[in-house]
C-alpha cells in the first residue's frame, strides 16, 4: 500500500506539469493585460509598456513559462502583480476559511445525505422516499447563491441567529468560527447533499436486493444494523467515489459562496485575480486546487481498500 501511495504521488508530478503548462498557456492567450489595469485611465501607452516591462510581461512565452516553472520547482509560487505580496502568503491568508468552509460542508453533507439516501432506499417507493428525492431534486436545482440569500434572510436578518458575512479564525474560538460557517456551509452543501443522497439511495437499492441482506434479516438482525453496518459498507464504493468527485463541486461552489457571504477565502481570491489578470495568483491557486483534487482522488482510492477488502493495489 505504501509503495502504491508513493507511486501515485510520483505519478501526480506529470499531471501537475501538464496542468501548469495548460494554465500558463491559457492565461497567456487570454485577452486582458494587468499592466493596463494597474496603469489606470490616465496612463499613456508608454506608461503601460513600462509597467509591462517592469512586470516581465513583455518577455517571450517560453521565457516567462521557464522562469515561472523554475521558481515553482524551488517552491516559489511567485509574487502577486497587484499586491506585491508572495502568492504563497496570499494563499496562506485565505486557505483556512476555504478549507473550513469545505470541511464543514463535507461533514454536513455526509451527516445528512448518507442517512437520507439510506432511508430513501429502505423505504423505496413510499412517501418518505418520494419526499427525500423531491428534496434532492430541489437542492440540486437551486443555485448556491439563491440558497445563500434565502438562508441569510431567514437566519441572519429575520431571526438574527447568525451573522450575514465574514469569517472568524478557529484560533478565536470554536463557536465564533462555526457561527460564521453554518449558513455558507449549508448553502454550499445543498447541491452536494442532493447528489450524495441520490447516489446513496441508488447504491443501497442494489445492495438491499442481495442474498446476504435477506440472510441478515432472517437471522433477526435489527434494521439499523442491517442498513448502516452491512448494506452501507457494501454500497460505499460508489458513494465514496462520488464524494471524491464532488470535491470539485465544492471548490466551484466555494467561489460563489465566499462571494455571497463575504468570506475571505481562496474562491474570492480567484475571482479577484481573474478579473485583474493577476497571473501568478491564478496560476498558484489553480495548481493548488489541482494538487488537492489529485490528493482527494488518491485518498478515495485508499478508502476503497478500507470499505472493500477485495480491492488490493
Amino acid at each position: 500500500m505504501v509503495s502504491y501511495i508513493l507511486r501515485r504521488i510520483v505519478a501526480t508530478l506529470p499531471v501537475m506539469a501538464i496542468v501548469a503548462l495548460f494554465v500558463f498557456s491559457l492565461l497567456y492567450i487570454a485577452p486582458g493585460d494587468p499592466a493596463v489595469v494597474i496603469a489606470g485611465d490616465q496612463a499613456s501607452p508608454a506608461d503601460v509598456e513600462r509597467i509591462r516591462q517592469s512586470l516581465g510581461l513583455d518577455r517571450p512565452f517560453l521565457v516567462q513559462f521557464g522562469s515561472w516553472l523554475w521558481h515553482i520547482l524551488h517552491g516559489d509560487l511567485g509574487t502577486s502583480i497587484f499586491t506585491s505580496l508572495p502568492v504563497s502568503t496570499l494563499i496562506a491568508q485565505r486557505i483556512e476559511p476555504t478549507l473550513s468552509l469545505m470541511a464543514t460542508a463535507l461533514v454536513l453533507t455526509i451527516l445528512i445525505a448518507v442517512p437520507l439516501g439510506v432511508v430513501a432506499a429502505w423505504k423505496a417507493g413510499s412517501w418518505i422516499d418520494r419526499s427525500i428525492m423531491a428534496f434532492a431534486v430541489f437542492g440540486f436545482s437551486l443555485p448556491v447563491f439563491v440558497i445563500g440569500y434565502i438562508l441569510a434572510y431567514v437566519f441572519a436578518l429575520k431571526l438574527e441567529w447568525l451573522p450575514v458575512q465574514g469569517y472568524t479564525p478557529m484560533a478565536e474560538g470554536f463557536w465564533p468560527w462555526l457561527q460564521n460557517l453554518i449558513l455558507p456551509a449549508v448553502a454550499l452543501g445543498c447541491v452536494y447533499i442532493a447528489l450524495i443522497a441520490r447516489i446513496t439511495r441508488a447504491s443501497m437499492l442494489e445492495v438491499l436486493q442481495q442474498d446476504y441482506i435477506r440472510t441478515a434479516r432472517a437471522k433477526g438482525l435489527g434494521m439499523p444494523s442491517i442498513l448502516f453496518v452491512h448494506a452501507l459498507k457494501n454500497a460505499a464504493v460508489p458513494i465514496v467515489t462520488v464524494i471524491g468527485i464532488g470535491i470539485a463541486l465544492l471548490i466551484g461552489g466555494a467561489v460563489v459562496t465566499e462571494s455571497v457571504f463575504a468570506i475571505p477565502g481562496l474562491g474570492r481570491l480567484t475571482i479577484d485575480a481573474i478579473l485583474r489578470r493577476d497571473y501568478p495568483v491564478i496560476q498558484g491557486i489553480v495548481l493548488l486546487f489541482s494538487f488537492l483534487y489529485v490528493l482527494v482522488n488518491l485518498m478515495v482510492d485508499v478508502i476503497y481498500t478500507l470499505v472493500d477488502p477485495r480491492i488490493r493495489y
Partner: protein, 534 residues
Amino acid sequence: MDRRTLLKGLAGVGSLAATGGVSMPALSQGAAARTLRFVPQANLANFDPIWGTQYVVRNAAALVWDTLYGIDATLQPQRQMVESEDVTDDGLTWTFRLRSGLKFHDGELVRSKDVIASLTRWSARDPMGLMIKALQQELTAVDDRTFKLVLKQPYPKLLYALGKNNTPIAFIMPERIAQTDPFKQITDYVGSGPMKFAKAEWVPGAKAVFEKFTDYAPRQEKASWLAGGKQILIDRLEWVVIPDPATAAAALQNGEVDWWESPITDLVPVLKSNRNINVDIADPLGNVGSFRMNHLYPPFNDVRARRAVLMAMSQEDYMRALVGDDTSLWKPLPGFFTPGTPLYSEVGGEILKGKRDLDAAKKLLAESGYSGQPVTCLVAQDQPITKAQGDVTADLLKKLGMNVDFVATDWGTVGSRRAAKTPPGQGGWQMFHTWHAGADCINPAPYNAIRANGDKAWFGWPTSDAAEKEVVAWFEAKNLDEEKAAVDRLNKAALEDVVYAPTGFFLGYTAWRKNVSGVTKGPLPFFWGVSKTA
C-alpha cells in the same frame, strides 16, 4: 423571480427586521464604538497611489499620506502641509515652507528632501506632473523645511496640481520610499497622514485596517475635502470588502458594518426605509457616462457618422437604463463638464438637446458613406454602468441601420482591447463604453478624455485642433472669466468634432448607520470629523 428582485426582497426584509427594533447580533455588539467599519467601493488590492491609480487606492492613501495643498469643497487649492509659499513676480520661482512639527508615522520629521523625492516620483506619472516636469528648471531643498521650484515659464495651475484630488495625487512620502521607481510598487506604507496603515492586518480582497496617528498635527481650519484640519475622532478604521451588494446591505442593516460607500440604486429604497440608516448623495460631482468612437477607422473616422450618432442618441434612455427612474439622480448633459461647477458649459450642446431626429441622423450617416459594415462595440458585462450603456447603444445603432458587432466581455478585456489601434476586424474596435468621475471633469487639467491630440489622446484617438487650442487657452487663463471663455469654446469644438459621446450626468448614494456622524459629501469618503457612538 430574477436575481435583482430577490436581492431587493432580502434587503427589504432586513429593513423590516431592523425597523422592528430587534437587537443586533452578538457579532456586532462586541465591536468597539471607536472602531468604524466601512465597506469600500472596491477591493484595496494594492497600496501605492502613484503606481496604481484606482480610486479605491487614492481613497485609502488620503488617510495615510498628506499633501502639500488640498482641494476644498469650492474646488480651490488650500495650504495643507505647506505653511507659506512665495512666488516671484515673473511667476517662475516658487519658494515653499513646510509647517513645523510634521512627522511621518515612523517618528521622522517631514523634510524638504522627502517632498522633492515625492514630487519627482509623482511627476513621472501624473499628466499635470509631466507638464510641470517639462517646465521645471530646478527643484531643490533650501533647508529642512524650505524648498524651491524654478520653472522655465509660468504655470498658473501649479497649486491646483499639487492639491488636486484626481489620481494620482501628489502625496508626500519619506524619501526612502519615494525613491522607488514610479513604475514599481512600494512595499513600505509610511506616511504623515492622520492615520497609519496596519500592514500586518491587511488581507487584500478582504480587509484593510487603519489606526489613528496620534502625532498628527492637524491644521486649525475646519476640514473641507482634502483641505483643513483632518481631525480623526476614531481609533481604528476597518475597511471590510463585501463584493455582493445584497450582503453589504444586510450587513449594514444588521450593524455588522457602519458605513457602505456605494450602495447600488436598487437597494437604496430599502436602506432609506430603515430608521437606523442615513442615505444621501455621496459625491455632488457625480459621474459622466460616455462612449467613445474610434476616430481612426470607418465609419467613425468621418465626423458626419459621429454626429449622426449624437443626433440620434437620447441621454434620457441612457440614464434611465443606468440609474433608473429617480430623476433626482441624473440629468442630461449637453456638454462635457460637471454640472454645478464653475466651468460647466452647454455651449454647442444643441445637438444633444430636444427631440431626437432619427431620420436626419440616418441621412447624415448615409452621407458619411456608411454602407452596412460591422461596427465592433465593446461592452463590459461585469460593470453595471457599461453594461446598461452598451445595451442602449446597441439598440440605438440598430435603429440607425448599423450592423452591430456586439462584443460582450469583461472590463479587463475592454481595458486591454481598447488600447489596440489595429483595424476593428483585426482585434481593434469602433466603440466602447465607460464613465468618468465628475471630479475629473471639472476642468481640462485632469480630463484626458476631452483631449483631442490624435495619437496622444485617450482611446479613440480623436483629433481636433480647435478643441486642443482651447485646452491650451485654459491652461494659460489668468482668471476665472478667461477660463470660462476657453471652456465654452472647448465644449463647442469638442461637440462639433464629437471627441466622445457623453451619455448624461448621474449621482450615486452612500449609506451609513445613524450612530455615525460627520459624514460629508465629496469625491472621496473623508474620515476626518467622522465619529461613532455605541
